[in-house]
């Protein structure tokens, strides 16, 4: 599943320079992973907590590195999301005209890297996939992006590499603390008590009361927080999102941001439970609540439609962090559901912004007006996505946000109040945007805009359907998550 897109990339590189052929071959390369991920969801044993569908081969015996892949409920949901978004984004990229071959080859490499991250159970392998994603992303933003693409691309690259540098040190430190030395995550989880929590006698750990485990936790957290992006590390995101081509923005928001929270759940929670219990309130809970409000306020001030969606991502990822910090069943399930929902909803939002940008060639919120009269179908779909994003009951965003808030209320009432106030702010900026862009008298300049095309609808409808289904019957996703998340939760709870 991971390597089919990679093979696709190789085929695309070997193809003659025929744009049409390349597009369809790339689309074909994303179909098998999608089918396989659906098969995975269907055949996945929902009642078992551990890893399933395991593949394990020796890779570098001298360092005890193995090719070790497997999935649990958490990764299955993310794999489904990745496969689906990649499939749809290929179609959203059909309007790319510049160096088509390079674009699709890099896109498929990115796809392979993302799949790999969600499947890898060997820490070394995880890190390799994690870094492999960076390169295609750098080029995709840098070559096919908007006017300030070079700045955005290098900023994204430097930020992420900075984070992964810390991660690499943490990985090595964990490797040398296990006995026998290994990169196997399952073994690390089993030996979680080996990572010491006694306070280190050196500055600054002594003052903070941190042990080895806390230091490692923090190093990993910085790597993941940059990807989420959590508050002080979020500044790459608006740049990267705004400059990237539409399909890449969708992937960035839909999948890449999830890797941060996925990493925390997959690695920080089970491998470093004691530190998680100690640091979660400030680093996840409080920071998450702050992310919600800060992101929403920033979004409100934006004039660029894409930047608005980008900051709304910052805000929505705050719910994920807040939910994870609660250590309650509702909270943590809500958090992962929110990851899934945010992927679909924000994917829709970026695609919708792309639709209007292709026609108007600008994204200035003040520059539109009355689009509802010109493109009624388009406006209908947009309204669905906006309402889902602001958490209207009956749509998927509502379920996950309410679960998160329910879960956190039992633990941190104050934070929950802050988090809940984010819902109001979100409604505020989204409704205000609808009013400015879609309602009011139609803008004379844009009267001749064609209605949304069949291809564009094709990319939006599946996401819309998922948003409605999950909104009405969330158990489709939640059943898949519950067993695995409970197990992760149970590891941390004794340390609280």
């Amino acid at each position: 599943m991971t390597f089919i897109p990679l093979a696709g990339a190789a085929i695309v590189l070997a193809l003659p320079n025929n744009a049409k052929l390349i597009r369809w071959v790339s689309a074909a390369a994303t179909v098998p992973p999608l089918i396989m991920s659906i098969w995975l969801v269907v055949n996945f044993d929902r009642n078992k907590a551990g890893f399933q569908f395991i593949e394990k081969y020796q890779w570098i015996p001298a360092f005890n590195i193995s090719y070790y892949m497997g999935v649990d409920g958490l990764s299955v949901s993310m794999i489904l999301l990745t496969a689906l978004l990649c499939f749809l984004c290929i179609f959203a990229s059909f309007s790319i005209e510049k160096a088509v071959k390079g674009y699709f080859a890099l896109f498929l490499m990115l796809d392979a890297g993302m799949m790999g991250v969600f499947c890898a159970l060997d820490f070394f392998l995880f890190f390799v996939f994690w870094e492999v994603m960076l390169l295609p992303m750098y080029f995709l933003i840098g070559i096919w992006g908007g006017p300030r693409r070079e700045y955005a691309a290098i900023k994204f690259f430097l930020y992420t590499l900075f984070g992964s540098a810390f991660m690499l040190i943490a990985i090595l430190a964990l490797y040398f603390s296990t006995e026998p030395h290994t990169f196997d995550m399952t073994v690390m989880m089993a030996q979680a008590n080996k990572f010491g929590t006694e306070v280190l006698p050196i500055w600054p750990f002594k003052q903070l009361g941190w042990g080895f485990q806390h230091a490692i936790w923090m190093a990993l957290f910085i790597g993941f927080a940059i990807k989420i992006p959590a508050f002080p590390f979020h500044t790459w995101l608006p740049d990267a999102h705004v400059e990237a081509p539409t399909a890449i923005s969708v992937i960035l928001a839909g999948v890449l941001l999830k890797m941060g929270t996925y990493g925390i759940l997959r690695i920080n929670f089970p491998i470093l439970p004691a530190a998680t219990a100690d640091l979660a309130f400030w680093c996840l809970g409080a920071l998450g609540a702050w992310n919600i409000i800060y992101g929403a306020l920033c979004a409100m001030a934006q004039k660029d439609l894409k930047k608005l969606v980008a900051y709304s991502s910052v805000s929505h990822m705050g719910y994920v962090m807040l939910g994870m910090a609660s250590f309650t069943t509702q909270g943590i399930n809500g958090a992962v559901l929110q990851m899934f929902n945010h992927g679909t909803i924000t994917g829709m939002l970026f695609l919708l912004v792309g639709v209007i940008y292709d026609r108007a060639h600008h994204r200035d919120i003040e520059g539109f007006g009355g689009m509802a009269a010109i493109m009624p179908v388009y406006t209908g779909v947009t309204a669905l996505a906006f309402f889902a994003s602001m958490g209207l009951p009956g749509l998927s965003g509502f379920i996950s946000e309410i679960l998160v808030l329910l879960g956190t209320w039992q633990k941190y009432p104050i934070l929950t109040i802050f988090g809940a106030s984010g819902v109001i702010l979100t409604a505020g900026y989204l409704l205000w945007t609808i009013q400015r862009v879609y309602l009011g008298p139609p803008n004379e300049k844009y009267l001749k805009f064609p209605e949304i095309s069949g291809r564009e609808m094709f990319t939006l409808v599946p996401l819309g359907v998922i948003v409605i289904i999950v909104g009405i019957y969330p158990s489709v996703v939640l059943d898949m998550l519950r067993a695995s998340l409970d197990q992760i939760n149970q590891i941390v709870i004794p340390h609280l």
Binding site: A62, V128, E131, F166, L168, I169
Partner: protein, 495 residues
């Protein structure tokens, strides 16, 4: 075993073949018309020497020529390495326009003599031998650096190199004389024994070590003996720069490891090398390593000439490799050996592209790489991107694995070494900026209208470039055989 002169010759085949080839080239230079044949002879000679070297793996380790040299896996590793580098360099010279206009016979003869010097550096087990071999490499390098006629940069670089080299080797031999005064011998094993006895003045020994480090440091290019390298890299003919950047550095590491590890230290319990207590040279190395990588990376940030930038990046990489020395473990040394191999592949590859582009555009300025990928040179641009990203240390390229082993060796020691690891990791992040800047110029910028198209297809160099690129990726994914080879190469002959 401890062999006399004549008996040693059996184990001296590769050196003899190289010397023979050098003489043959000088004689034939007077006779043959097509100078290209000389390169082929040099190539054949190096290949024959390579076979002879590999054949020696079956031999017993031991002393040669009255304990002047040793033969063991460690020296053989660096001999194979030097030959691989020189073969790549000759192939590069064949495709280079710079070399077409110089005296080719002398060029190839000097190149092989330089390699011969590296052979001696790798195997010397006597301070005198160490000094002589180092000088042999240096002298040939001075000449080769200044080999471009009517090129002021080239001459300036050679002069600078000569002055720095003279000072450094003078300092080194002064330090060696102190050692001789204290221990009464130039032989490593005798020095080792003498240092074990009481009554050695620790301060004097420390100063002697620092002086000797100056000589080695100037070959490995670490701070503060690095100032010659940017000028020399920029001025020398590109194929030779590539050779110098990897082979000279590796030979310096070989001679340094041999002197400081089996020479004056001992393996203690737990696989850590124990040095004479009170003589804190490892601390000096630790410090120098941090300074070297930081200065190298910071200076590279604003370079406009690609060869100069690669020179500073080379200084940074020397700093990374010094980490492996400073941790005093076999894991660290083995990581260094792994790193030099990887560094050979990616650095020669990078210089190869620089040479190719310079053949066509006549310039090495980064500004001339604007939109290279869209000017008909997608393949070289993509290959250069792979090499640069590998130098940064990004997976799935070989450079990542090399750095990974170095970091692993450092973190395994724990304690204050974690600071070293942190400094190194931050340096890698900084280095991304300047490597990515080149990639950005090649791919993200659109070409200027007046820029020429670079038709690279069909160039002889491509046939060399693609294998190097493939190797960079392969060693990033499947490196077990190479790892096994470097681990096995870490067998010293000690008595």
């Amino acid at each position: 075993m401890d062999l006399k002169n004549v008996a040693s010759l059996n184990f001296f085949c590769p050196e003899l073949i190289l010397s023979g080839t050098v003489l043959l080239i000088i004689v034939l230079d007077l006779m043959v018309r097509s100078k290209r044949n000389l390169a082929l002879i040099a190539l054949t000679g190096s290949a024959a020497a390579l076979i002879a070297t590999l054949d020696l793996y079956s031999a017993q380790p031991g002393w040669l020529f009255h304990r002047m040299m040793v033969i063991d896996n460690f020296s053989l590793f660096f001999k194979v390495f030097a030959l691989a580098a020189v073969i790549l360099c000759i192939l590069m010279s064949l495709g280079s326009n710079e070399i077409k206009h110089v005296y080719q016979g002398e060029y190839y003869a000097l190149l092989l003599t330089c390699t011969l010097g590296m052979f001696f550096m790798a195997s010397s087990s006597n301070l005198l031998m160490a000094y002589l071999s180092l000088e042999l490499v240096s002298l040939t390098s001075y000449v080769l650096t200044g080999f471009l006629p009517h090129n002021r940069r080239s001459s300036e670089a050679a002069l600078k190199y000569l002055i720095y080299g003279g000072v450094a080797s003078g300092t080194m031999i002064y330090g060696m004389s102190w050692i001789f005064g204290m221990t009464g011998s130039l032989d490593y094993s005798a020095i080792q024994v003498a240092l074990g006895q009481a009554g050695i003045n620790k301060t004097a020994l420390f100063i002697a070590f620092i002086f000797i480090m100056a000589g080695f440091g100037y070959k490995i290019v670490f701070v503060p003996f690095h100032m010659w390298s940017p000028d020399v890299y920029q001025g020398a003919p590109t194929p030779f720069t590539a050779f110098l950047s990897v082979a000279s550095n590796a030979a310096g590491l070989a001679i340094m490891i041999r002197f400081f590890f089996p020479g004056v230290s001992r393996v203690a319990a737990g696989g850590v090398w124990a040095y004479t207590s009170g003589v804190e040279w490892p601390q000096v190395l630790l410090f120098l390593s941090m300074i070297t990588m930081t200065i190298g990376n910071l200076c590279a940030l604003n370079q406009r000439n690609l060869k100069r930038m690669l020179a500073y990046s080379g200084i940074a990489h020397a700093g990374y490799m010094l980490m492996g020395l400073a941790v005093l473990t076999n894991e660290g040394l083995s990581a260094i050996l792994f790193y030099v191999v990887v560094y050979l592949i990616m650095n020669v590859g990078a210089f190869l592209v620089v040479g190719m582009i310079a053949n066509i555009t006549g310039s090495e300025d980064i500004e001339n790489y604007r939109g290279l990928a869209w000017r008909g040179a997608v393949v070289p641009a993509a290959c250069l991107a792979v090499f640069l990203l590998s130098l940064t240390g990004l997976p799935p390229f070989a450079g990542f694995i090399g750095k990974f082993f170095l970091f692993a060796a450092v973190l395994e020691r724990g304690g204050t070494f974690i600071i070293l690891a942190l400094v190194a990791v931050m340096n890698s992040v900084v280095s991304l900026y300047y490597y990515a800047k080149v990639i950005k110029t090649m791919f993200l910028d659109s070409p200027n209208p007046e820029d020429k198209t670079v038709a690279a297809a069909g160039d002889f160099n491509i046939t060399l470039l693609l294998p190097l690129t493939v190797l960079t990726v392969v060693f990033g994914i499947y490196f077990s055989p190479l790892l096994r080879y470097t681990t096995q190469s870490l067998k010293f002959f000690i008595k």
